[in-house]
Amino acid sequence: MSMDIDIQAFAGADPILAIAEEVFTAMIDGEPGHVLPALSAPELGDPMHAWVDVQGTTSGRVLLSTERATADDLARALLGMEPDEEVSTEDFVDALGEVANVVGGNVKALVPDPGVLTLPQVTQERPPTQDGSQIYELNLDWRGRAVVISLWKLP
């Protein structure tokens, strides 16, 4: 897969933002308008990272980063839980991984000659990446919480 997504080719519409809006609207919020582009890159305290890789002729990674508390809220929204209901580690890991999986699958559809999508992984540690390998970053504000989607080339 070539991760050279030509953002400019989408006539001013950011396709990654469009994917994020669709995912949050359909899966998480049930209505549009709760995820917006953020003006600046956030500092993530207690960060969590979820990612999928696309493995093909060349490979790339779709990485979703947020804070643990936000991951808990995403899990509550996805699972239809009450706002104060405790989220198990298994639930938030699975929920955050599935969000990354759906975003990654739709990003994969944007690139020519895509390869195979790996199963999602979720960790506290940011997955290792090479300097200069980031090709895109989208900072999002979801209900006042920071969510970052980034795309990376893999060796």
Binding site: E22, V23, L79, A95, V102, G105, K108, A109, L119
Partner: protein, 127 residues
């Protein structure tokens, strides 16, 4: 009507099961194609299988192929529910024997519409 929800994500299994439950389905869940085949081989009658593509152990396409190779399960309706949205993948799944294809993310209305097309949910009467 009984549906088998096959997805390695328990989050997605719960979402799909909840949606199907609201449409009147009883649901059974499996975390991969092999687990799903175990359910079928155990004799549980399934009317509809909702199948993720990318799963460990046995993926969705392999499951569809296995089901289509067994005459005992020929009446089962198979619907892929997956992030794989390239046209070539859709064609592969339909050629293997899937009846419908739903791309994640989906809305409850999209699920209902697909099931209406398949004749598994009654059409809503217009107001």
């Amino acid at each position: 009507m009984r549906a088998l929800v096959i997805d390695d994500s328990r989050t997605m299994r719960r979402i799909v099961s909840r949606l199907l439950g609201s449409l009147g389905f009883e649901t059974v869940e499996a975390a991969d194609g092999r687990e799903a085949l175990d359910v079928l081989e155990g004799g549980t009658h399934i009317d509809l299988a909702c199948i993720d593509w990318n799963m460990p152990v046995m993926n969705g396409l392999e499951f569809v192929t296995a089901v289509r190779n067994n005459r005992d399960w020929r009446d089962m309706t198979l619907m892929m529910v997956t992030t794989e949205s390239e046209q070539s993948q859709i064609v592969r799944a339909l050629a293997a024997g899937a009846h419908e294809y739903l791309i994640k993310p989906f809305t409850p209305d999209a699920v209902r519409e697909k099931l209406q097309l398949l004749g598994l949910v009654e059409l809503e009467e217009s107001a």
